[in-house]
């Protein structure tokens, strides 16, 4: 018997998000990255409809062709918000002949992209459950998931972002001409039109004239209630930087330059090039830009992450005009595809090292939270019980049932 206990980590993947499939790939990469000697890994798959499952067959990507619940060994499971469960309730609706059970967890690893996963919702559930979880907290996840909110925060911190106009779906539907006039007054063509909260490139359009702009706004408004219109940076390149750390100790990775940016990253291009997801996508690492610019971008990435109150990890994407020395922060992904393993490899960190560090960072953040007190005893209830509740006069107090 050894003194070291294994940590139990639940890896959440899939999800009610347009990025469901990418997340399944990321989730499986994360599951495989853990050292089985030190961690007990529990796969938790959330399907497109938002149902939760666990079980060993979920470790095999081939098993996702059909309904996973039909597989032997797959059970329904939910993450309980009750602190004393501190884990998954397996088979929560078990009836007379089966029994539900609790699987206690040390850490939750939400390998989820986009809505209902990367946006603070799952993070909120983990907060309720009081379980350590990998990555950003509720506020940073929610803020960075919304491009308009992110830019508002970054501008406050003096980090350069591309000029934009934002509008709501209601505004667009009520007064399209007014909206177009507002955009024309503020920005020159070509423009990018983006739904505020979707990840990837879904619903994103490029417009060189008013007709295309109107069409793109219709598309974007179909995906989200807020829409962002940005000036297109025509002759720039995309440069990405991954981050690892909490609070004041954040490490920035080598920079990458994803290759065919000039046209536009369609969904297929971004994630499905090659067979194995992100790994074989075409990219140049390190990005071929000079050392001073590299340093500036890395420093800016860290500063932006701190500005949004991030922790754990992120991949920060920039638009850069290397010759002009112009840098614009484009977005912050708090749960980047494949967790940017390929960038950390260049830093001498294996995927196993990265997930281990992320788990430690999550536990560190949880420890930090423990320092706050959430339990404060007052005599308010006693006093209220004695005096009766004010402000609810005219209603009779409910009487206990007579029996």
């Amino acid at each position: 018997m050894s003194a070291k206990r294994k940590l139990t980590v639940a890896v959440l993947f899939g999800g009610r998000s347009v990025e469901h499939d990418v997340s399944v790939v990321t989730g499986n990469q994360v599951l495989r990255a853990f050292d089985p000697e030190r961690y007990e890994v529990v796969p938790v798959y959330i399907d497109r409809d938002g149902r939760w499952f666990t079980g060993a067959p979920l470790l095999d990507l081939k098993n996702y062709r059909n309904e996973v619940i039909s597989l032997k060994g797959v059970e329904e499971a939910i993450l309980s918000p009750a602190t004393h469960h501190h884990g998954l309730i397996i088979d929560p609706t078990a009836g007379r002949f089966a029994k539900s059970s609790v699987k206690r967890l040390d850490v939750v690893f939400p390998a989820l992209h986009g809505s209902h996963g990367e946006d603070g919702t799952v993070q909120g559930l983990c907060e309720l459950a009081d379980i350590a979880y990998v990555g950003c907290g509720v506020l940073a996840s929610a803020a960075t998931n919304d491009k308009i909110m992110t830019k508002t925060i970054l501008k406050q911190h003096g980090i350069p972002v591309v000029d934009d106009v934002h509008l709501t779906r209601a505004e667009w539907e009520a007064n399209p001409d007014g909206v177009i006039a507002r955009i024309h007054a503020a920005l020159p063509y070509p423009l990018f039109i983006k739904p505020a909260t979707l990840g990837s490139s879904i619903g994103v359009g490029r417009a060189d004239d008013e007709a295309l702009l109107r069409a793109s706004l219709d598309v974007a408004a179909h995906f989200d209630r807020s829409v962002l219109v940005e000036r297109a940076i025509t002759d720039g390149v995309e440069i990405n930087c991954a981050l690892l750390g909490n609070a004041q100790q954040i490490r920035a990775s080598v920079l990458e330059l994803p290759v065919s940016w000039d046209k536009f990253l369609t969904y297929e291009e971004k994630y499905l090039r090659g067979g194995e997801g992100m790994k074989s996508a075409d990219r140049i690492i390190p990005a071929p830009i000079d050392a001073a610019l590299t340093a500036r971008i890395r420093e800016m990435a860290v500063r932006a992450f701190q500005a949004v109150g991030g922790r754990g990890t992120a991949r920060v994407d920039f638009l850069v005009k290397p010759e002009a020395g112009e840098v614009y922060l484009n977005e912050i992904n708090t749960m980047p595809g494949s967790l940017a393993f390929y960038l950390w490899q260049h830093e001498g960190l294996s995927a196993g090292d990265v997930v281990q560090q992320l788990v430690e960072l999550a536990r560190e953040a949880q420890a930090e939270k423990r320092r706050s007190t959430y339990n404060y005893q007052t005599n308010l209830i006693e006093v209220a019980a004695m005096r009766g509740l004010k402000g609810v006069k005219g209603r009779k107090a409910p009487r206990p049932a007579q029996s």
Partner: protein
């Protein structure tokens, strides 16, 4: 006539059952150890032969015998019945400091004892009925005698009831232990074991507080430290809370092998030995036996486990020097941090200062050369060691020394361990009522001595369970008390005689020494005699078994 005879037996039977319940309290205090309980019982005549039942029986039977008139007369039986009523009516309870806890075990034991009593009473009834009825006084006297015998035999019935239930209890215990084992296997906690002759509960409380600044730790509640106590903690609390990361198990040794059994259940990966001292010496015989019982907690560690030791106690230091396991941490408040011996203590407290605001000291980690000033509201210098031991574990578990120092600032004393309160009328009450020990009493007395505004009253019944050292340690207690207290109340004349000798030896004024029979009298005295600015220290409040 027959009805009357039955009634005589019935009344005595009720008396016997009431006495069984009364006696169960003392049996429980002696932890159901029949030998110890019976020895306690036989030590005083009034305990095994209570006066009123004896007189009632003796006088009643005599009158019944001599007042017999004619065959068939109900008079002897009526007299015997009256006597039974007087004899069986329970005595008024004296002060109850430790009431009987109606545990399931007690209920089963009492049920068995009642069944025995009823069976014996029925057998008695059968015997009485079989007697010839021509002389009415004979059956009456025999019924009364058998009823009286039943009352006198009540303690034996209790012990027999307990013995009869032994296999049942063993089975239930085994099941309860298996359940606890299953809960722990599922919970996947890091288990920290703590043992020592004293200081266990305090160290446990402090460690839980420090670890909880970062993790989730659950300590065994109160002073639960037996195998069953630990099982109760596991089955009641750990089973219902999966958020826990650490289980801090206090382990007491009342017999050799007990700690080994608790370790076999809990598998600690970190073990702390606080002190080895003469507590329970009468059960173990020698300090070496006590030390080897405590060492079970270290022997039970896995090779990659962690042992934490109090360097300042020679017996505990010897354990540290035995070299198992690989990772060992010793702490000291006696070693000079500038001159640490090779393979000496890793954590050292220096510049210890004690005031009524608490303790402050500097902690040096000789491995990392880190240094941190600690401040705690705790009183009593022995608490420096307890805090150091807890710090050693916290450091090993990744809590930075700075964070430990912050957590230590909000430590609270464990229940009844040097808890200081100022009453509204301005009298300071220091409660150190938990089973006192030779180390703790000195520190408690020093705390009393720090109060310089008025009278300093010590109330104590002395120390017990120290075996052959009892007399000398109690005399020493008296000698030290004379330095710090201005007034002393000793509770119970007999057992405090050595304390009194000690006090008088060093010239403590006899007129300031009071002896009371009960704690209630002592409390009454202090309530009438103390004034604003005065201080009272309750040192070692014992269960009634020693007071009566």
């Amino acid at each position: 006539m027959t009805v009357l005879l039955f009634l005589i037996l019935l009344v005595w039977l009720i008396g016997a059952c009431l006495r069984i319940v009364r006696q169960a309290r003392f049996y429980q205090i002696e932890e159901y150890m029949s030998g110890r309980y019976l020895r306690w019982l036989l030590a005083q005549r009034y305990r095994w032969l209570p006066g009123r039942p004896f007189l009632a029986w003796f006088v009643g039977a005599g009158l019944a015998f001599f007042l017999a008139e004619a065959p068939g007369s109900p008079l002897p039986a009526i007299i015997a019945l009256l006597a039974a009523g007087i004899g069986a009516y329970p005595e008024r309870d004296k002060e109850v400091k430790k009431a009987l806890k109606f545990t399931d075990r007690v209920k089963r034991m009492l049920a068995a004892a009642f069944v025995l009593a009823v069976a014996l009473a029925l057998a008695g009834a059968a015997l009485v009925l079989s007697l010839p009825t021509d002389s009415p006084e004979i059956p009456a006297v025999i019924a009364a005698s058998m009823g009286f015998a039943l009352v006198i035999a009540a303690p034996l019935l209790l012990v027999t009831g307990n013995l009869l239930m032994t296999p049942v209890e063993a089975l239930l215990r085994a099941r309860f232990e298996a359940q606890a084992r299953a809960v722990l296997a599922e919970a996947n906690l890091t288990v920290i074991g703590i043992t020592g002759s004293y200081g266990k509960t305090s160290t446990k409380t402090y460690l839980a507080h420090i670890l909880n600044s970062r993790y989730k730790a659950y300590p065994t509640p109160k002073s639960y430290n037996t195998l069953m106590g630990v099982c109760i903690a596991i089955n009641n609390d750990i089973a219902n809370n999966r958020s826990l990361e650490y289980f801090i198990a206090e382990m007491g040794a009342y017999i050799p092998g007990e700690i080994e059994r608790i370790c076999d259940l809990t598998h600690p990966s970190i073990s702390i030995v606080v002190e080895v001292g003469p507590q329970h010496l009468e059960r173990f015989g020698t300090l070496e036996n006590i030390a080897s019982a405590k060492y079970e907690i270290i022997r039970a560690l896995p090779p990659d486990g962690v042992g934490v030791f109090n360097w300042d106690n020679p017996y505990v230091r010897a354990m540290y020097e035995r070299g198992y396991p690989q990772t060992r941490i010793a702490v000291s408040r006696a070693v000079d941090p500038a001159q640490v011996p090779a393979d000496g203590p890793r954590l050292i407290a220096s510049n210890v200062e004690e005031s009524l605001n608490g303790l402050s000291f500097t902690v040096t980690d000789t491995h990392s050369n880190q240094r941190e000033d600690f401040q705690t509201p705790l009183l009593g210098q022995h608490n420096v060691t307890n805090v150091l031991l807890a710090t050693a574990v916290a450091l090993h578990e990744g809590v930075p020394l700075k964070d430990v120092a912050r957590a230590v600032r909000s430590l609270q004393p464990a229940e009844s361990r040097l808890v200081r309160n100022v009453l509204p009328e301005g009298i300071t009450v220091i409660n150190d009522a938990y089973s006192a020990n030779p180390v703790g009493v000195v520190h408690a007395l020093r705390v009393l001595g720090m109060h310089q505004t008025g009278k300093r009253l010590l109330i104590t019944p002395g120390m017990v369970e120290l075996g052959p050292l009892m007399e000398s340690e109690n005399r020493k207690l008296g000698e030290i008390a004379a330095q710090y207290a201005t007034d002393v109340i000793l509770v119970g004349a007999r057992q405090t005689d050595a304390v009194k000798q000690g006090l008088l030896n060093v010239g403590f004024p006899a007129e300031r020494l009071h002896i009371t029979a009960t704690l209630a009298e002592a409390v009454e005295w202090y309530q009438t005699n103390l004034q604003t600015g005065d201080t009272v220290l309750f040192l070692n409040d014992l269960p009634d078994v020693y007071a009566s």
